[in-house]
Amino acid sequence: MGIKNYFSPVSALKFLVKKPVTVRVPYEKKEPSENYRGFHINDIEKCIGCGNCARICPPNAIEMVPMTEYPKYKDMKVEEGKRIKKIPKIDYGRCCFCALCVDVCPSFSLKLSRERIQVETDKEAFVFIANNDVSYKDNLGYVANEKSHLLGLKPKR
């Protein structure tokens, strides 16, 4: 306990001029990183309906449903004797955002966005078909690339 110690509290004054590390949320926005794992985006036209995503999903959050369940393709005509393509429907109560589904998608149609906030009062609103008509469709986050793809596929140009 030297004489120097009595003056050391004075050094605390430097924190008065420092910028705070916190973000003032309603006024400032914190941008998620480039490959953030948020809600899914699925290009339904590109999706081949293989079901890899449903099989790899660790918490079984993905269910494959016929394409006609999605409102946009409700009136789609199905030819006699042909099967309807199945597309992933995701239960966000179960999803752990591990992005394994993205890394096994052979058509590279399934992607994750950087959207992370969704507020709803109805719990059914958290179970929906991943689609490409959402407001955050251009806000791409975790996207499979040549190195990350677990089946060793390359994205087509």
Partner: protein, 365 residues
Amino acid sequence: MKTYELFIGPQHVGITGNFSVILELEGNVVKKATPNPGFLHRGFEKLMEMRGFIHNVPIVCRICVPDPDPNEANYAMAVEKLLGIEPPPRAKYIRTIVLEFSRIASHLFTFGGHAGSIGLYTIPNWTISDRDFILDLFEMLTGGRVYHIFIYPGGVRRDLPDGFIEKAKDVLNYLEKRLDDYNKLYFDSYMFKKRARGIGIINKEDAIEWGVTGPNLRASGVKADTRKDDPYAAYGELDFEIPVLTGGDAYDRIMIRRMEVVESIKIIRQALDNIPDGPIREKVPNPMRFIVPPGDAYVKVESSKGEYGYYMVSNGKDKPYRVYIRGASMTHGIHILEKLLPGNYLADVSQIMFSLDVCPPEIDR
């Protein structure tokens, strides 16, 4: 004098997680302590027997929340040992960087908790905000802040993004500067020395006998570290020291963690500078049908809590037959706590618990 019973926990009294201790007190002196775990039991080991090898990757990181990466690395290494493959050098370096950042983040959490428990309330605010810079780095690299799900059997899932190395170096420089601030307010503080010195002493012989590992063992004067003794990832190629202190009390257990943060910064700097080019993943079976040849493997890593071990048995199917996890906190949280607490004041209970750095999910696997 009449004794009375007091429940401590299960919410965050001396441990980051749900864990309680039933104390028998005489006045304010502890006479008997009975740890009471079970609040975080999620049945990881049993759950892993029912899921495929790949489906377990997002589960294992949940075994220790403040320090999830040693679990991922350990699980991946056990699977690799059964498959008989070795990850490529670049993947090993990326693993080392992730593991060491995770160690720093976990130690910062412990500093905050311990300082809070002795009444220095500025330190938790500082350490948790500084830890967020590390979480930002994890988010940039892996896409997740807390659960990274990044280390995959055979390598890692993604390569380092552009600008990661520069950003990581900035964070390391910042953390190094911040350690001086921590020194002034916490490590050199008269109050910290007065409160923590001579509290909860584990001597060398007892530490070895009870199976203490990690920083708690090194604070008792034993130089043992899995990173040096049985190098995994890229630790064999990097130059670093193992700090050892001899006191074995709460003060030394915190100080050894401060010294480890300095060493971790050194390790990450070397790994960032010497990272080789090349692939990030070795060829592994198709994730849809990940079949591992029959056999058993025991792999250990050094987490921020102590020595971690995974014993995995495969019977040649796509699911593990049995996975046993040796969590370091089992010893520290149950046996050591029961022996250390009697004779101490009630006010010191939470700081002893924090100085042991117990992670309850490791106990309730």
